[in-house]
């Protein structure tokens, strides 16, 4: 493994990307989960798929675009989808959640059309659906690093506003915070992280890397910063264990990372139950 890491740049890329995503996905995930937006992440990942499939089709049919990295159109689709979701949410004020199935089906519909135009499933497409340890390019790694930088800058500037907005929207409005703008920026950053994460865990499993570590952290943490810290620890562990096992067992990393997250989640729930029952027993 260490030898492979040292000698194969593609595997280096995958590991470095994985380590970055293991931090930013759960970090942003905490805000997504507490704001009850987990399903939006799912919808956006399917819109990203439309961008990826469209790009794969274009690179097949237009010679000059043959080398286009699908991650760019994926990002464009994801960000576009996020803005569209916000527009739809304000259009259906009393049925905000309707925006999610609308955007999700649009994403899957477009993907299906592009996939059939590109004459079916290719190994390339498979790697975008479930992630891959061996096809992450240097360019992907650079894009993922830039997205991570955007996330850090966003949270550095707006952490306290995001906390108020997530905890108590009414209070945010009453104190005159520019909630609308911050929310729009936030959802665009979410779209970027989803586009970045799909290279490693795959489009179908992106939202799990955003939500599962947070779900686990919330079982044991009392405070907000504590929740963020635990989420990152659980997310990062799942990525490392998942990538190593994917490498050795020749499996897709999306599957191994998500199943590792699930195992960690159940383990934490079980340990917490045990500790609680021991405490009760002692009394």
């Amino acid at each position: 493994m260490i030898e492979a890491l040292l000698n194969y740049p593609l595997i280096q890329n995958a590991f470095l990307s994985g380590l970055i995503i293991g931090i930013i996905a759960p970090l942003l995930g905490v805000f997504i989960v507490v704001r009850r937006m987990s399903l939006i992440a799912d919808a956006l990942s399917h819109v990203t798929l439309a961008g990826i499939a469209g790009s794969l089709y274009l690179s097949q049919s237009v010679a000059s675009l043959a080398l286009l990295n699908p991650i760019y159109l994926g990002i464009v689709a994801s960000v576009g989808g996020s803005i569209l979701i916000e527009r739809l949410r304000s259009l259906y004020k009393h049925y905000e959640e309707l925006a999610i199935p609308i955007i999700m089906s649009a994403g899957i519909g477009l993907s299906a059309i592009f996939i059939s135009l590109a004459s079916g499933f290719s190994t390339d497409l498979m790697s975008y659906l479930f992630g891959s340890v061996s096809v992450v390019s240097r360019q992907d790694l650079i894009v993922i690093s830039i997205i991570a930088l955007v996330v850090f800058v966003f949270l550095f500037l707006f952490f306290k506003e995001m906390f108020v907005l997530s905890f108590d929207e009414e209070f945010a409005k009453a104190t005159g915070l520019p909630s609308k703008w911050i929310h729009l920026l936030f959802i665009i950053v979410v779209a970027l992280v989803i586009a970045a994460s799909m290279r490693i865990v795959g489009i179908l499993l992106v939202s799990s890397l955003i939500t599962l570590p947070v779900a686990t952290a919330m079982r044991i943490s009392k405070g907000f910063k504590e929740t963020i810290l635990y989420s990152i620890i659980f997310g990062e562990s799942a990525v490392i264990i998942g990538l190593i096992s994917a490498f050795y067992l020749n499996l897709v990393p999306g599957g191994t990372i998500v199943i590792t997250s699930i195992i960690i989640l159940f383990f934490v729930i079980l340990v917490k139950k045990l500790v609680l029952s021991l405490r009760v027993g002692r009394r």
């Binding site: 507490v34 009850r36 500037l157 707006f158 952490f159 306290k160 506003e161 906390f163 108020v164 997530s166 905890f167 108590d168 009414e170 209070f171 409005k173 009453a174 104190t175 005159g176 915070l177 520019p178 952290a217 919330m218 943490s221 009392k222 405070g223 907000f224 910063k225 504590e226 929740t227």
Partner: protein, 248 residues
């Protein structure tokens, strides 16, 4: 004559075609402890939204600290505590300390980080509401009354001159309501906070307040508590219907 912190002149407001507030005029002076009374649907919450600048009046003028609300920028002078029931997500993973600290957000402004000495400010604010021993507790595990005290501390940490509370005792156990009002009275007397409190039940108007305003789409009475006490129950019935009664 103390200077008025809030002045409303002939303020009216309507949602689409429903008139909510009609020709409201009154003022609140520094150091007042005003209770706005009114039944459900009388326009109390709308009145507060107008004062907070969340909605704009259809006609009339609102002045805060002598300045028109449209040009008023010192929003941190106004602390707001909403009704507990719909205010926040009780399963939110945050400690009391984190919640109180978040009250500094608007005062600090965008792009500024919470300063290192904030912990001392948090402690002071929590001491004012008698919650200093709950700093590291999870907010969701506190009782309704304790949570409401924490939210007052969150407002206090920004050192507001005026506190606006929207039915703060909804969801608080009956036995804790009295001590809750005692705490507000102390804030009013010892820290010279001007307080506006909205409630829909006259029963909760205790002897701790200085002024009363009776609202049902328009202001039926505004004045000292002692003058309010001379109003007959019949008159209150006229204003509010049978839903409001007064106990002495």
């Amino acid at each position: 004559m103390t200077k008025p912190l809030i002045e409303l002149q002939n303020v009216s407001f309507q949602y689409e075609h429903t008139k909510v507030l009609h020709n409201i005029s009154f003022s609140v002076s520094e150091g007042d402890f005003l209770a706005i009374l009114g039944p459900n649907g009388s326009g109390k919450s709308t009145l507060l939204k107008l004062l907070l600048g969340i909605v704009k009046p259809l006609s009339g003028e609102i002045k805060l600290f002598g300045e028109s609300i449209n040009s008023f920028h010192n929003r941190e002078w106004v602390g707001y505590v909403s009704q507990k029931s719909n205010a926040f997500n009780s399963a939110f993973p945050a400690t009391v300390e984190e919640v109180v600290k978040s009250g500094l957000t608007k005062k600090l402004g965008l792009f500024r980080r919470i300063p290192k000495n904030a912990n001392r400010l948090v402690r002071n604010a929590l001491e004012s509401v008698g919650m200093e021993n709950y700093m590291s507790r999870n907010i969701g595990q506190l009782s309704g009354g304790q949570q409401q005290r924490v939210f007052i501390a969150r407002a206090l940490i920004a050192e507001p001159k005026l506190l606006i509370l929207d039915e703060p005792t909804v969801g608080i156990d009956h036995e804790n309501v009295q001590s809750f009002y005692d705490m507000l009275a102390t804030l009013n007397k010892e820290q010279q906070k001007t307080i506006i409190l909205v409630t829909h039940d006259v029963d909760t108007v205790s002897n701790r307040i200085s002024h009363v305003a009776c609202l049902n789409h328009t202001i039926h009475f505004h004045g000292f508590k002692k003058d309010f006490d001379t109003i007959s129950n019949n008159k209150l019935n006229d204003w509010y219907g049978h839903s409001v009664r007064k106990i002495h």
